[in-house]
């Protein structure tokens, strides 16, 4: 187990090849993708900051 609802299992071993299966609830995977996108957009917006604006917040 690598997460609460995520299971990794060995599906097949053949010679030097190992096939791995990962089972995760779709809602967990989608949740993380959406979160990633939201954080990415927030990072990008923050990276546009103008130092003068922050200087105004002193005092």
């Amino acid at each position: 187990m690598i997460g609460d609802d995520i299971v990794v299992e060995i599906v097949e071993v053949s010679g030097a090849t190992v096939r791995v299966g990962i089972t995760a609830p779709r809602d967990v995977v989608i949740y993380r993708e959406e979160l990633w996108e939201r954080v990415k957009k927030e990072n990008q917006a923050a990276a546009e900051a103008d130092p003068a604006k922050l200087d105004e917040l002193q005092g």
């Binding site: 954080v39 927030e42 990072n43 900051a49 002193q58």
Partner: protein, 148 residues
């Protein structure tokens, strides 16, 4: 040994080596590898993370506890293992500030803070309840002041 870096906002800068932090995984969706933590005004809660090789990439940051004294960081076991920090309390925490045309609209990212430990930093997903992506900064400041 000081390091000389180029910043599109601040021009050429010399920063102490200790001020440069490595982000093994970069910032989420934005990347970057080595950022200098700049203090431009000692009395200001704001610092800047300036990427050392991308002059135009810089973000304002602050310690979230200055504005939200009760702020908590909780990360999943998987995340803790990935970044090699088992206890967030052992790391310094920075949160990215989003400036806005109006001061009242400044927000701080409590959902995806940056944990700094031993010269390395990681932007993580905070699983503690109420950790907003855009927490109003001035509301937090007012609340923090009333704590004193």
């Amino acid at each position: 040994m000081p390091v000389t870096i180029e910043s599109s906002r601040f021009g050429p800068l010399e920063v102490p080596d200790e001020a440069v932090i490595e982000f093994p995984a970069g910032l989420i969706g934005v990347g970057g590898r080595r950022f200098a933590l700049l203090v431009r005004d000692e009395s200001s809660p704001f610092r800047w993370l300036q990427e050392t090789e991308r002059a135009e990439l810089a973000l304002p940051v602050a310690s979230p506890f200055e504005f939200f004294p009760d702020y908590v960081v909780e990360i999943s076991d998987g995340e803790a293992e990935r970044i090699g920090i088992s206890d967030p309390d052992e790391a310094e925490v920075l949160a990215i500030v989003r400036a806005a045309p109006q001061l009242e609209d400044f927000t701080i990212n409590l959902m995806a803070p940056i944990l700094v430990s031993r010269g390395k930093a990681h932007q993580v997903i905070n699983e503690a309840p109420g950790a907003d992506l855009r927490a109003p900064l001035l509301a937090g400041l007012a609340a923090a002041r009333s704590h004193r």
